[in-house]
């Protein structure tokens, strides 16, 4: 009981929200490319350059907001290269995505060395982070207020983007076109919707959010840049994108599951479980979710078998009324 209390408390909820936010941002970015029919495994790299240039920008201008802008611009550049190669040159998206991840890793370290003379991490140098927002009158809401208040702006942005994206896909033209291009490109083409243009736009929108995710990592979550600080979050996002199929609500659920297992697993360590095992928990959760979601079709197979057995017993020798048969075959 005491153990449970130590594990499950408000700080766990708050931690879940914090750990979810960066993955959510980058996964929502990936939603654009997923919906547009592009498999974007380069999210990791976009996030990383986003984080790096957010820090560089902040140091150069003194303003974290301008830093965020720089981070986004850098991620957009990478996204543009991705789109150029994948959409215009029709290069294999996995190759390009992996190569851009490698490029991002090498470039950030090289630049860090060139600019700061060392590798590793950048902090200090007048680096300031984004301010945490304290909602007014938060005390009046008790634990609820505790959960809602005190995050940096991009955390709120991440969660608010979920309904925005739902609206975007269902009610805006661009959102509709993105879905169409992903689902049935020849339909888009026939109607004069430029597949190329839509895929570029989705890649760039993806870069935008991946850049924000990176900037959040460097200026919101922490106030520093470290080599390889995206630490696999981009890959996690890709996993979530696969089983959510790019739907914002499912992405949110996936990210929350992920954030929760991450937050929880960090707390499990204090119970004396080896860090190596505990650290594998989020990946295992993702794997199990992936397998479980594809295993879903299984019950239907069972149902089908049962149904056909039932049929075998009851209707065996009957001839079917054709009219009724048609009705039943229509959903």
């Amino acid at each position: 009981m005491e153990i449970l209390e130590r594990l499950l408390n408000i700080s766990l909820v708050v931690a879940t929200i914090r750990t979810t936010a960066p993955i959510l941002l980058v996964a929502l970015g990936g939603s654009f490319t997923t919906k547009a029919g592009i498999f974007n495994i380069g999210l990791e790299g976009q996030m990383l350059v986003g984080a790096f240039f957010a820090v560089i920008g902040t140091i150069a201008t003194g303003s974290p907001w301008l830093g965020v802008l720089c981070g986004v611009a850098a991620a957009l550049t990478l996204a543009l290269i991705f789109a150029l190669l994948v959409v215009s040159f029709k290069a294999n998206e996995v190759v390009v995505g992996l190569a851009l991840n490698i490029l991002a890793g090498g470039l950030t370290v090289s630049l860090m060395k060139a600019i700061f003379g060392t590798r590793g991490s950048i902090f200090g140098h007048g680096l300031v982070g984004l301010p945490a927002l304290r909602l007014p009158n938060v005390k009046d809401f008790g634990w609820f207020g505790q959960i809602l208040s005190g995050y940096t702006p991009l955390v709120y942005a991440a969660f608010l983007l979920v309904p925005v994206l739902i609206l975007f896909y269902n009610r805006t033209r661009l959102g509709l076109y993105i879905r169409v291009v992903g689902e049935k490109p020849e339909a888009a083409e026939a109607l004069g919707i430029s597949i190329t243009r839509i895929r570029y736009v989705s890649s760039l929108l993806c870069g935008l959010l991946a850049g924000l995710a990176g900037a959040h990592l460097a200026l919101g979550y922490t106030t520093m840049f470290t080599e390889n600080m995206s630490s696999g979050r981009g890959f996690m996002a890709v996993a979530i994108l696969i089983f959510s199929n790019g739907d914002p609500l499912k992405i949110l659920l996936g990210c929350l599951l992920f954030g929760f297992s991450d937050a929880l697993s960090l707390r499990l360590q204090t119970l004396g479980i080896s860090s190596y095992l505990v650290l594998a928990v989020p990946y295992l959760v993702a794997l199990i979710a992936l397998f479980a979601l594809s295993y879903r079709s299984r019950p239907r197979v069972i149902q089908e078998t049962l149904a056909s057995m039932g049929r075998a017993l009851s209707v065996k020798s009957n001839t079917i009324q054709p009219a009724a048969a048609t009705d039943a075959s229509k959903p």
Partner: protein
Amino acid sequence: KDVSVAAISGYFSQGFGVAIVEGLKKAEKDLGVKVKLVDTGNRALDYEEQFNNLAKGGEYDVVFVMGWELVDALQKAAAAYPNTKFVFIDGVLDSKQIIYANFAQNQGSFLAGALAAMMAEKGSEIDGLGDGKAIGFVGGRDIPVIRDFMVGYEQGAKTAAPDVRLDAVFAGTFDDPAKGSELTMALYGQGSDIVYNVAGPTGEGVLQASAAAGKYSIGVDVNQCDVAPGHVMASMLKNANVAVYDLVKDLVDGKTLEPGSVHTADVKSGGVELLLCPGVADKIPADVKEKLEALKADIASGKIKVATTTQ
């Protein structure tokens, strides 16, 4: 004759490595030696060739080596290039051809643990502390060197305030400050108010978290008081910059570094120490400071033996 020194490690970007680089840069500037840094990266396959490339020309008088994963390659290189002096930093091996600069991080960590535990025992008497009666430890990866810090920290805590609980966790990585920060938040949530980081850049996240949460942390390797002023209570210094500089200076002065010799930096020599951060130091009650001094003396005199994991 001109002296050339080289250093090879995968950790120049992290606390302790930074200190080594600092010492070498100082030597380069003050003593006019030529300095070469070789970053090994993290692929075990590369290490031997890197040693070969470095030692083959025979142009380096001394090569500083840092990182236990290099030990195998180092021993081979030491055997293959008897004319090059290799200094292994942070440990002692069997080989008699290598020179050792050993740092008693366990002793320094002992003091850090003692400080943290005594403060935790005071609890809410002190600004920013609660009554959780617990202290935390965030390691980078769960490897022997990091555990060496941990056992010292734990022993120090148990010695100074036996009732205080230690929650030790590892981030599994040295480059994820976000994870460091999240782990620290989790430790704070479970009652610790002071967290000691031994986690390289991941640890920067620990220090930043202490500022964000209004609690305390302890720095490591170098002076980290400035990362989160007012919240980093102390820094456990391994003065590798001094040690490395001194060794290079000996060389420039014409002294020979004796193969097999062990240069120990510990609490006694001052090569390892606990620095109380200005701004927080005055919040530390006098009795705690006194007790710390006493423990320090006991370690120096050998009265207290601190456990280690790297022998």
